[in-house]
């Protein structure tokens, strides 16, 4: 492998392109981080230099290389209470607004997608149980979906590594999990029963059509890995899945600003979220 270099202008050119596509902006301080991964991909794709790699990146019909690069450039680990401020926002800001406009006795529906191995959905269930006293007065339906049936099975089992639970306060861990002989943690049956896991391909209209009437959607760190058309289609699904006034939370480095013009931005003390207009 020759002496491929990323010049300052190459870096800026790449940075602007990546920012335009994803909304993620790499400060000059991230130069080493970015260069390292670019060089890795230049080699992996058999590109002679940055210029030819960049052409490939920009013009590849499938968009696969860009997706691969995005995967490399972002951290996609899942664990309990990841981006906890959004759960806080749910119980302190979003749900109060939602219940204020609901008839007592009606259901509250929350959709978490992708489910991955279930950490997000169970985190929501724990948060509601621990930190939302009105839970006793409302019927909450929690649905979590993924395209991968194998991971859905894991999610239903509810067995987790120490790493997965390390952000949980000890009292939560003790209350909702039991220790397994192999060092893993088993989430208790009440919580497992609290979440309905379903298989959904977000860009398949046949799969998504029944998903309507939701008050809150959590879709964190998924759309960033989609190409532009799939992202637009996913946003379309989410818009129609929400009730008027319903909320959607994306990952902390994600924004609707590259995806859809239909959602209103709402700033709450805990987080910025998106809302389907109440008059829609």
């Amino acid at each position: 492998m020759g002496d491929v270099q990323i010049s300052d202008e190459d870096f800026r050119k790449f940075r602007e392109f990546f920012y335009r596509k994803t909304g993620i902006y790499f400060e000059d301080g991230k130069r080493y981080f970015v260069d390292k991964r670019l060089l890795e991909r230049i080699e992996a794709t058999g590109s002679a230099d940055f210029r030819s790699y960049f052409t490939k990146l920009r013009f590849q019909a499938s968009g696969e290389e860009l997706q691969t690069l995005i995967n490399l450039m972002t951290v996609n680990e899942t664990y309990f209470f990841r981006e906890e401020y959004q759960f806080k926002c749910l119980v302190e800001s979003m749900l109060p607004e939602i219940v204020a406009r609901k008839k007592p006795g009606s259901r509250i529906r929350i959709w978490s997608i992708p489910s991955s191995s279930g950490e997000e959905a169970y985190s929501i269930a724990i948060y509601l149980t621990e930190y939302w006293p009105p839970l006793a007065e409302w019927d909450v339906e929690l649905i979590s979906s993924d395209i991968d049936t194998a991971i859905l099975e894991r999610a239903k089992e509810g067995r987790y590594s120490a790493r997965s639970v390390q952000a949980l306060p000890l009292k939560i861990l003790k209350k909702y999990f039991r220790n397994l002989p192999n060092g893993e943690y088993q989430i208790n049956d009440d919580l497992r029963a609290a979440v309905e896991f379903t298989r959904v391909n977000l860009v398949d209209p046949a799969d998504t059509r029944p998903y309507r009437g939701f008050d809150v959607i959590f879709c964190r760190n998924l759309l960033i890995y989609f190409d532009d058309l799939s992202r637009a289609k996913a946003a379309e699904v989410f818009y129609d899945a929400l009730l008027p006034g319903g909320f959607i939370c994306l990952g902390h480095s994600e924004s609707m600003s590259r995806i859809s013009s239909l959602f209103r931005v709402r700033k709450f003390p805990q987080a910025i979220v998106y809302q389907k207009p109440e008059s829609s």
């Binding site: 920012y19 590259r258 859809s260 013009s261």
Partner: protein, 128 residues
């Protein structure tokens, strides 16, 4: 009179235009941040409001008019906004002022023009 550096948000989907406006404004001592379109600009303004906005009209998802209208609706300290555009119709100028812009400049903008307008709006603390 505050000695704090004033923060300006430059909003345009063209990177070159953002760089150009940044160069001009930083050269005059302002702190400049950028946003790619009106929606990103709104998110940034909600997180940390700016002293002045320089906003293009034609942007994806939320354009300049939409941004300014939304800005004026939100519970935020109301800062002045300069609208910039390639359009030269009187209709666009009127629409800009109706949306809540304080000034309207036609691209490409000469450095002195941008600076004079920004200085004026920041000095008088003009609001919609």
């Amino acid at each position: 009179m505050s000695a704090q550096v004033q923060r300006i948000l430059v909003v345009d989907d063209a990177a070159t235009v953002r760089m150009y406006h940044r160069m001009i404004l930083e050269g005059a001592g302002y702190a400049v941040e950028e946003a790619f379109n009106g929606l990103e600009a709104l998110e940034k303004a909600l997180a940390e409001p700016y002293d002045l906005y320089v906003v293009d009209i034609n942007m994806p998802k939320l354009d300049g008019f939409g941004f300014i209208r939304e800005l004026r609706r939100q519970d935020l300290p109301q800062a002045p906004a300069v609208m910039v555009s390639t359009e030269a119709q009187p209709e666009d100028r009127r629409q800009a002022y109706e949306a809540g812009a304080n000034f309207y400049l036609i691209k490409p903008i000469k450095p002195q023009e941008l600076l004079s307008v920004c200085r004026l709006l920041l000095k008088t603390g003009a609001k919609a």
